[in-house]
Amino acid sequence: MLSLLAQVADFKAPHVDYHALAPEIVMAVGLCAVLLVDLFVPDHKRWITGTLTGFVLIGAFIPVATLAVVGDDMRALFDGRYIVDEFALALKGLFLLSAYVVVLMSSNEMEEGHYYQGEYYVLLLSSVLGMVMMASSRDLISVFVALEFLSIPAYMMAAWRKRDSKSNEAGVKYYLLGVFASAVLLYGMSLMYGLASSTRLTDVGQALTLEGDKVGMQVLAIVFVIVGFAFKVSAVPFHTWAPDTYQGAPTPVTAFLSVASKAAGFTGLLAMVYLAFPMAHDVYQPFMWVLAALTMTVGNLLALKQTNIVRMLAYSSVSQGGFILMPLAVAGTGEAAGPALKAVVVYLLIYAATNLGAFAVVIAVARKTRSGEISSFGGLFNYAPGLAVMMTIFLASLAGIPPLGGWYAKFGAFRAVVEAGGGWGYTIAIVGAINAVIATAYYITVMREMWMKPAPDGDETPVRVPSPIVVAIALCGIGTMVMGVLPGAVARFGDLADLTFAFGG
């Protein structure tokens, strides 16, 4: 007991780099502010919460930007368990901006649907906060906490349309499977802790060598952890929740889940792969290879069949996840590690802009057609050429057609796997190439509806698009095009190669 007290007496408050933590702090404060504001504004002014959320996100982005400008080295907090480096900043920026676009997309939806606006934004903010934390987490506990922080609000958001049984179903499926996956993940983490006697990822990485007498345990730990994240990024066969949830959830939430939540999952996965498993590549790489190949292929094949645009986009995002996984399947160590990491991050950035844009258009169109069917896009080019062109751009980008962003994303992924070389690398590259073509088929189905088919009900009155959505579409469109034409010029993300070292790997 005394010794314990003695330890307490020795306790020194850790040095906290407040600049590095500023985004999280801003968000935490903002979260409370939104909660409070929601309490005190009358119902018809609840839109203020949305606006405020936007400001909070932008406010949180400012320190991210300043950190990026100032910081040329990584900032390690809490004994290296929480790290702010360029990798983290890039992803934080991604999460914040995506969330901002989601807010833009949500505002009309929430207002006109008579949902609980304040609570929605609070949940959104907390989920984003979880993501932002995820980007910096380098410890099993913080990874887990961040993961739950971002997931639990998302479960609720998925079920946000309370009276819509589909939305309920979406939420419950997402929730149950999510929790189950978390539990499996946790079990794996517990084994890791047992092996490494430390929760720090770098320590775990030292322990997972696939040598000694506990190989089986190591493998089990790795597999369970990957499964947990694979669920989050909806990799086949852990994707089953995604289509149902995406379809049932309110569309802005779907956009959020398919972009930000997925990106957060990949963030965690990257941290794991690069810090915790570097020496276990004999285990995780084959596993990832199978996951990537399956994800691309199954996602694509199922997407081909869809008639609902959101469900189609859901499967599409599954298959895009496969492309993001692809570099990890063959990289992670050695020569190709840098390009692979770069490829994943760049892919996430471009994918975010593109996919959000597509969802924004879907929202805008659905305001008129009140339908989620692909056929409801018929004749769009005639009565809303702007929307049609933007949607075409987004879809083409998703399909990877230059000069839109998607091509560079795919290019990076292909380059990473080809650079890794070997039979596995080339094989997955070919699988990816074929899948890229299959993917085109369903994207083009939508384009065909928009450009070549008449409006299904003959109603060709122009669509009135609310200005927030216009802004959202414009942001995404500009992002998509700029990243396609000048991918190298997108801020400093081009230098992400250094991140491998930033991880300390």
Partner: protein, 782 residues
């Protein structure tokens, strides 16, 4: 831009020789003038054409004179004669029969500019003048001029009068370009331009389906041969690394240790082109069909241009063929060229017997004569063959123009000898005389006709160069020629006037319109040529529906139908007379019988000679050698005349003949039968011994086997195309693509049950996959 050619140009070669390249340029320019301004000219552009042809003729004449000068001066110089020494010191064949002295070797005058150069291939354009080229230049320019003048009357009032002259002019330009060609590329250029123009000219009255089909057939058949031209040229380039004709000839003539097989391949490939172009067996079938064109076109095509292009190619690249196909080599009794030429001589002559259409007789006659030329080249009688080109051009052109003249004002625009002619000699004296003279020339009657000198030299050479088979073929052919021409002459000019010649129109069957008759005539030959029968009735129906008021009848717009057969206007008769005169005298340029070897002297250097190539000189003429041929000619004429008179004199009037014999029939059946039997006997003698086994069979073979083959090949090609398209392209290749799409979608469908919507199922999948993965990886790694 143009670099002066490096070919040796003699310092004083002469203006005309060096500017011979202008000869094709003039008509080419005229072509564009006609196209762009022709319609606005008072004479519809024909003045451009005629003027340009006259211009070309003048230049060609100048070139010819300077060439003669050049040869003569070289002959006096003597020092160039040694090039030809190899010629005399040959293989011992027929050297004894050589003419007095070896003619001097005269370098060709070449004037070239670089056309383009690509890779390591330099292609030039310009002119390459030697005896052969000069001969053809003069010939083409001359005949073209006459034909154009003739045409001003013949196609007057045609709705595409201007186009007609444009095509004619371009046609001549193409031939002249080819004749002058210093290299194979320019040669092919001219060759193909002619092909195009023949298409336009044969199909001049394209409103009628048969004409259009004949044009198509002509172009297509020739094109089949052209394949050989392209491939052969490629082979030459590979062998010799150049496409310049002079160099190729030189290298081929001295071909010692190269790839002999390749040279033979090149020669065969090139010869296939000649077969197509010159209507040699078995690709001759387009030629009679090509009679669908207006008569001046037939005349031009079949005399000096187009069809002789093939012969010209062999003559032009003679060293290639000579060395490649082992002509005049000991122990080689046959060669491809001679065989094809020989077969052509006989089958075409045979076919000429059973034709009713005067133009078709002439057409088969042309084929047969071209066979002579080829055979001549095949047996080493280069001079004879080239000279036969020369003489044949005049009399064949004359004959065709006569036929046109008859149709124009004699037979009511019909070419059917049996139905619409007869007894015209009194009514069309000019035409008759020219016809007789030209026929004599064609038959090879000594001294009256120029054909004697050229044909006889070919036949003699075959004999002296040890090609006995072809000697026999040659004299039999001569006899047949005499016979069928006699028959045609009899039918046309003697006996009773029938049909159109008697100013009797056969009811509705005859439209007052030449093209239509020609159309029907061709339609017969074309029956099997229809690629798609279904369209025929359609087209005819459309044709009948739209009537004839605006039709293209050549004469109706101009002047009323003449009441009785008579000679035509001066535009027609003057060319006829000129040609008739030339048909007689042209032969004297090279009359071995009289000891004249002038033509040989002038053209000799074009043969080419070298270490690998020794062409025996023409044999010395002896009457003894010529006797068998002359005898057969005489027999042919006599027999044919006798039979023709017997058969056609009466048999053409079966009604009248029958009524005359109905009365005796009552008294003596037997006598009638005998009489009748006699008629048939004659028919059968001819038919059995000449026509039936040979001609009828040949014609049958021609129509059903060869022509049928051509058409079947076309049909088969089309069917293959359809098959490939339907089953392979759309079925298999496309099917794989579409199938893979379907498979992808199908696979998507197969996967859908997994997505059952049930949480429990999803969870099982989640954990199951994890468990399986863990199991596998643990097993693998431990």
């Amino acid at each position: 831009m143009f670099a002066e050619g490096t070919e040796a140009v003699h310092e004083s070669a002469g203006w005309f020789l060096e500017h011979a390249w202008l000869i094709p340029v003039i008509p080419a320019v005229a072509f564009f003038l006609i196209i762009f301004f022709g319609k606005r000219m008072p004479r519809g552009g024909s003045e451009f054409g005629i003027a340009s042809m006259l211009g070309a003729l003048v230049l060609a004449a100048g070139t010819a004179f300077q060439w003669i000068d050049r040869v003569n001066s070289a002959g006096h110089g003597g020092e160039e004669g040694e090039h030809a020494l190899g010629l005399v010191s040959g293989m011992g064949r027929a050297v004894a029969a050589a003419s007095e002295e070896a003619p001097p070797h005269v370098d060709a005058v070449s004037k070239v500019w670089s056309w383009f150069s690509v890779g390591n291939l330099d292609v030039s354009i310009g002119s390459y003048i030697d005896g052969l080229a000069v001969t053809l230049l003069l010939l083409v320019a001359f005949i073209s001029t006459l034909v154009q003048i003739y045409s001003t009357e013949y196609v007057r009032g045609d709705r595409r009068y201007t186009h007609f002259f444009a095509s004619l002019t371009l046609f001549s330009a193409g031939m002249l370009t080819m004749v002058l060609a210093p290299n194979m590329v320019q040669f092919i250029l001219g060759w193909e331009i002619m092909g195009l123009c023949s298409f336009m000219l044969i199909g001049h009255w394209w409103e009628e389906l048969p004409n259009a089909k004949a044009a198509l057939k002509a172009f297509f058949t020739v094109r089949v041969g052209d394949m050989g031209l392209l491939v052969g040229t490629g082979a030459l380039l590979m062998l010799f690394g150049t496409l310049e004709i002079g160099e190729i000839n030189n290298l081929a003539a001295n071909f010692e240790n190269g790839d002999k097989g390749m040279l033979m391949f090149a020669a065969i490939a090139l010869f296939i082109a000649c077969i197509g172009k010159s209507g040699q067996f078995p690709l001759h079938t387009w030629l009679p069909d090509a009679m669908a064109g207006p008569t001046p076109v037939s005349s031009l095509l079949h005399s000096s241009t187009m069809v002789v292009a093939g012969v010209f190619l062999v003559a032009r690249l003679y060293p290639v063929f000579h060395v490649g196909l082992d002509i005049n080599m000991l122990g080689q009794d046959v060669n491809l060229i001679a065989v094809i030429g020989g077969i052509t001589v006989l089958i075409a002559a045979g076919l000429a017997f059973v034709q009713d259409d005067i133009k078709k007789v002439l057409a088969y006659s042309t084929v047969s004569q071209l066979g002579y030329m080829m055979m001549g080249l095949g047996v080493g009688a280069w001079t004879g063959a080239v000279f036969h080109i020369f003489t044949h051009a005049f009399f064949k052109c004359a004959l065709f123009l006569c036929a046109g003249s008859i149709a124009h004002t004699g037979s009511h625009h019909s070419f059917d000898m049996k139905k619409d002619m007869g007894g015209l000699w009194r009514k069309m004296p000019v035409t008759f005389v020219v016809w007789i003279v030209s026929t004599a020339a064609l038959m090879g009657i000594p001294f009256i006709g120029s054909g004697f000198f050229s044909k006889d030299e070919i036949i003699d050479s075959a004999k002296y160069n040890d090609y006995k088979i072809f000697w026999i073929v040659g004299i039999i052919g001569a006899g047949l020629t005499a016979a069928y021409m006699t028959r045609a002459t009899y039918l046309t000019f003697f006996g009773k006037a029938r049909g159109g010649a008697a100013h009797f129109v056969h009811g509705d069957a005859h439209h007052d319109d030449e093209a239509h008759d020609e159309g029907h005539a061709v339609a017969f030959a074309q029956e099997h040529a229809d690629l798609d029968h279904e369209i025929d009735s359609h087209a005819h129906a459309a044709h009948d529906a739209h009537g004839h008021d605006d039709h293209h009848a050549p004469v109706h717009h101009g002047k009323p139908l003449p009441f009785a057969p008579t000679d035509s206007a001066w535009q027609i008769t003057v060319p006829l007379i000129i040609l008739g005169v030339l048909a007689v005298i042209a032969g004297y340029l090279n009359a071995p019988a009289l000891g004249i070897h002038w033509f040989e002297h002038m053209t000799h250097s074009s043969i080419g000679a070298g270490s690998a190539m020794v062409v025996p000189p023409p044999p010395k003429f002896t009457w003894a050698a010529a006797a068998p041929g002359l005898l057969l000619i005489a027999v042919g004429i006599g027999l044919s005349f006798f039979l023709s008179k017997a058969v056609f004199g009466d048999a053409k009037s079966p009604f009248k003949g029958l009524t005359q014999r109905v009365a005796p029939l009552r008294w003596g059946h037997k006598f009638l039968v005998n009489k009748y039997y006699l008629d048939h006997l004659y028919e059968n003698v001819i038919v059995r011994f000449v026509a039936y086994p040979l001609s009828k069979a040949a014609y049958w073979v021609n129509q059903h086997v060869l022509d049928g083959t051509v058409n079947q090949v076309g049909l088969a090609g089309k069917r293959t195309g359809q098959f490939v398209y339907k089953y392979i392209d759309q079925g298999l290749v496309d099917g794989v693509v579409n199938g893979s799409g379907t498979t992808a979608r199908g696979a998507g469908g197969q996967l859908q049950p997994v997505q059952s919507g049930k949480v429990g199922m999803y969870g099982t999948l989640l954990f199951g996959a994890a468990a399986v993965a863990a199991l596998i990886l643990v097993l693998v790694n431990s």
